[in-house]
Symmetry: C2
Subunit: 589 residues, 2 copies
């Protein structure tokens, strides 16, 4: 089946996120954005989509330190770089286009719909460019940025070690000053996406390590730039002492090599200040977390299109009222329609939430000083929500995609199963969704003394108001449901904030995942309602209306049980944990 | 990690299903059952569990019509058969032990926890034995049953064809009378589990096909027994004209060969009456559907144990209140505990629902005439619920199992991902879960003019009463929640029955999956509450109490939104389907 770039849906999600009257992001001419997204869609469908299954079947190959990407990937990467797609959000100073993060997310969705395993490479490079722009010295910028932006070189993030995954404070890789302003890094990193590959001649690793005098924990981590190939004076090249020692056999993303990296006194350059590496890496990680959400949207969109195409083609049984003789296509069966519509609304909801976050990031960069803090808080609040909700939804959608295919969905040749295998990692990497939920409830709910989340809730109430203003009977019903869901969110938020104030941390942590999903559903409900209303006079005929109403009908009702999980359900959590897991928490219920 | 057979949990689920005062199933001495389940647990842990990962990694191999099972499987199957495990539910007339289906399900769970891919072979044989006992001629029984029961031979189900999956009425395989009382079968069957293998010397296929004079649709299907090896007078053996032409590359269950079978005038024997084959096959399929639910319980149990073991071992971060220095095991983190407890309660809920169904099947066989109909109806009602709920829960549980492992969960070597890949098929085969939901709402809700489902609801209310009688504050809270959930189920049931009466079939079908889940959750909530109460004086210290309460706290609240999906949410379903899928339903909303 042919993948079709959902250009109009992406543009609508971008538009629904805009708040120019509040000092939001700069306007980019809509026509320019539409032209870029359209062209990205063309590239994704013609160049990347055909690589997806062969990437899965052949996978990246490892032999004696060399990693070979699947057939066709090297050529596609060359064309990708030549077309300037690595440069979207980078600064014009280094050859970039300086476009908003929202545009970067729009095209990243398309790369991931084309091939998520392929898209992981440029995603990491784009994130590294942003981190270096923010934190590297002028010399490092001059030496590396333009070749990353033009795609000649690629970049990676080197954080995880065997004993340091979610807990980066435990990392042990050492960096010792060499006396000439550079450092020598020694240690092992694991789960490094594209740590080694044959797409580019050089690979620039951003590596977290400890200096000899570093304090323990996360306060003692510094960030280094470690090139695979060192380029000296006069262009002399020498191989640095960093090698891949193997790649993982994974559930999915087979085309993306996940490397174990060995550093043996590898030469590196400090990025930012000593011991401040985690903050530098977070410049990259916050964008990357949002991009992971967008990765999931891309795979979900592809899985949905594939399932709809299959359901139109496959004939089984005879649907109620099917005209004529013979079997009907399964898309005519209501239970299949219910699955397909769930796929569509979850994908649309995830896209809307991700673009709401992307807009906040952009607004945080350009807003006036008096508005800036609020936008930065909004971005900080929405990043874990977007990452976790979109990735969890991606798993639901891809699993439904298998189900629509019936027995054929379980056969690898069909391609439906690959989407589930690929999308499954997005709930895990760049901070597991559990980590996102803990980040949300322990750090982000307290932003601006709790006012940040209350402003978000007020804004969602505003979207509900916009929906009511359209004065359309179906949309009014959706707005009623959104009202009830907003009450659930307010109640759960109050409860969480009170529990934090009372230092009942076990209760807060135990309800974190439910709270995150509750917030995401209400935000999505609001954004989808706003999109339906903004179609204005076109409400009656609209796909946005159907999406908003079906989401409110079939998904939003979950907020009742989620609020209960947050507010009531955890009463005896610790006692049950002790009984069921033989593991107690210190907090008395 | 070492798998531990959950013998006590299985016995408790069996006990919670019992209703002897209503003419339920015969008592088997509890000590006997416990001894059998214990011994099965020993076999599953020592003989089967070690085969699971190698079965996945090596897979079944196909070459020139010959299928080779993974290393060690042939030997394990010999020991399995020698220990008499194929004989549990079979009639003593053919060497079986004649034990209840409930005991068969108890041991099937353990085989599947050991290795689901392995367990699929004896599952099919056990189902075929039941079908042949019920429908085959005395000659066929004499010729085949004892060797299937002692495991010398294995059996298969041959239903699906490329154009006939969910819609068996479309099948085309032809059976022509040979003039000597036998038939010649010609056609192609696909997705045939263990259609060819090297575990036994002969394979007995139960095949659905059409006679030349057959009416079209499902009313024209007959069932045939087609041996791979024909055994003639004097023990002369000849190869029948049925061969495997290939095996599928699947998402999971790699050790279980999924074959394409070619019949080319293969000799076959009619089982049961001409044109009545679907009814005969349903003898096998109803048990098999329940067994698929139990397969999912087995994999869910294994995934849960593995995740708990990993969470005890893996150290990251420092949990709130963790005593001493250094990192705590991740099982001390509340968000990880929440995942693990969700895994535990979903597994327990699925097991309870499956055993409620198994007991009804057994009671339907032995109850007095005046009670029999009600038990048969109960079994018919619970079969789709048990199959779909347990298999959907299995996917949730296995996916959470990956999540608990973090990045390691995405690496195949860890084994967590295999559980998701394996369990994913159970929502699909033996009738997709969509088919189960449609069966439930269109056929089963009408049983005994709707009284069958109302009796079920009354029985759940009775379990709630037993829970209240224990007079325990936490269990009373769970009972309150069960009351609310029962109201949701009553309301949704009334709504479904009214919609059926009004012939609003699109509405019924669109809400079928939500209704099934709603019914399953309420039944599970009732059974778990009953199990907590039946611990009697031991309520306060009990794992059953923690399971029942945590299920009521964290899962049962879903019934609110499910009721809404069934009763309200589908108001504009057809209009939305038209808009979003470009496919309309004939029913005006």
């Amino acid at each position: 089946m042919e993948f079709q770039a959902p250009v109009a849906d992406i543009l609508a999600a971008m538009q629904a996120a805009e708040e120019p009257e509040r000092g939001g992001a700069e306007d980019i001419a809509p026509d320019t954005v539409a032209a870029i997204v359209t062209e990205a869609g063309r590239f994704a469908t013609t160049e990347l989509a055909p690589l997806n299954q062969i990437g899965d079947q052949r996978g990246a190959q490892f032999a004696e330190g060399v990693v070979t990407c699947p057939p066709g990937w090297r050529e596609a990467y060359r064309r990708f770089a030549a077309a300037g797609w690595n440069a979207v959000a980078a600064s014009p100073e280094w050859g970039g286009q300086g476009l908003p993060i929202a545009v970067e997310m729009a095209v990243q969705e398309l790369w991931n719909a084309g091939s998520a395993a392929f898209a992981t490479a440029p995603m990491l490079t784009a994130g590294a460019v942003l981190a270096l722009e923010a934190h590297a010295s002028p010399d490092l910028k001059a030496a590396y940025l333009s070749r990353l932006v033009d795609g000649t070189w690629a970049a990676t993030m080197n954080l995880t070690e065997p004993q340091a995954g979610s807990d980066l404070g435990a990392l042990r890789t050492r960096a010792v000053p060499a006396g000439d302003g550079t450092y020598r890094l020694t240690g092992q990193k694991v789960f490094i996406s594209y740590g080694e590959h044959d797409l580019t001649d050089n690979i620039i690793h951003l590596v977290l390590a400890r200096l000899p005098d570093a304090p323990s924990g996360t306060a003692g981590i510094s960030m280094f730039l470690v090139p695979k190939i060192l380029v000296g004076a006069g262009g002399m090249e020498s191989r640095n002492q960093v090698v891949a020692t193997g790649i993982e056999s994974k559930l999915g993303l087979h085309g993306s090599p996940t490397c174990t990296m060995a550093y043996d006194e590898a030469a590196g350059f400090l990025v930012g200040e000593e011991h401040r590496g985690l903050a530098c890496m977070f410049t990259m990680m916050n964008i990357t977390r949002l991009t992971v959400g967008i990765q999931a949207v891309g795979v979900a969109e592809r899985a949905t299109q594939q399932a709809i195409a299959y359901a139109r083609h496959r004939r089984q049984g005879r649907a109620v009222g099917w005209p004529g003789d013979g079997m009907s296509p399964i898309i005519a069966h209501p239970d299949v329609q219910a699955m397909l519509m769930r796929m569509k609304v979850l994908t649309a909801a995830s896209r809307a939430v991700c673009h709401s976050c992307a807009y906040a990031i952009d607004a945080g960069r350009v807003a006036n000083a008096d508005r800036r803090r609020a936008w930065l808080d909004r971005a900080a609040l929405l990043t874990p929500i977007a990452k976790a909700f979109a990735s969890d939804s991606g798993v639901d959608v891809a699993s439904l995609g298998i189900q629509v295919h019936g027995g054929a969905g379980y056969i690898e040749e069909t391609g439906a199963a690959q989407h589930l295998r690929d999308v499954r990692v997005f709930s895990i990497y760049e901070g597991t969704n559990g980590i996102q939920a803990v980040d949300l409830v322990t750090r982000k709910l307290g932003l601006d003394s709790g006012r940040a989340v209350n402003r978000l809730i007020d804004d969602i109430a505003g979207y509900r108001g916009e929906a009511r203003a359209a004065n359309h009977p179906q949309l009014n019903l959706a707005a009623d449901r959104l009202d009830a869901a907003l009450d659930d969110l307010r109640s759960a938020t109050d409860h969480m904030q009170q529990s934090m104030a009372d230092d009942r941390r076990v209760k807060v942590l135990a309800g974190a995942t439910s709270y995150l999903r509750l917030a995401a559903l209400v935000l999505a409900g609001g954004l989808l309602a706003r999109m339906a209303a903004s179609a204005g006079g076109r409400v009656a005929d609209g796909k946005p209306l159907a999406i908003a109403c079906h989401f409110a009908d079939m998904i939003l009702g979950e907020t009742v049980s989620l609020r209960r999980s947050v507010a009531d359900g955890t009463t005896d959590f610790s006692a049950h944990a002790t009984t069921l897991l033989s593991h107690s928490n210190p907090e008395t219920p």
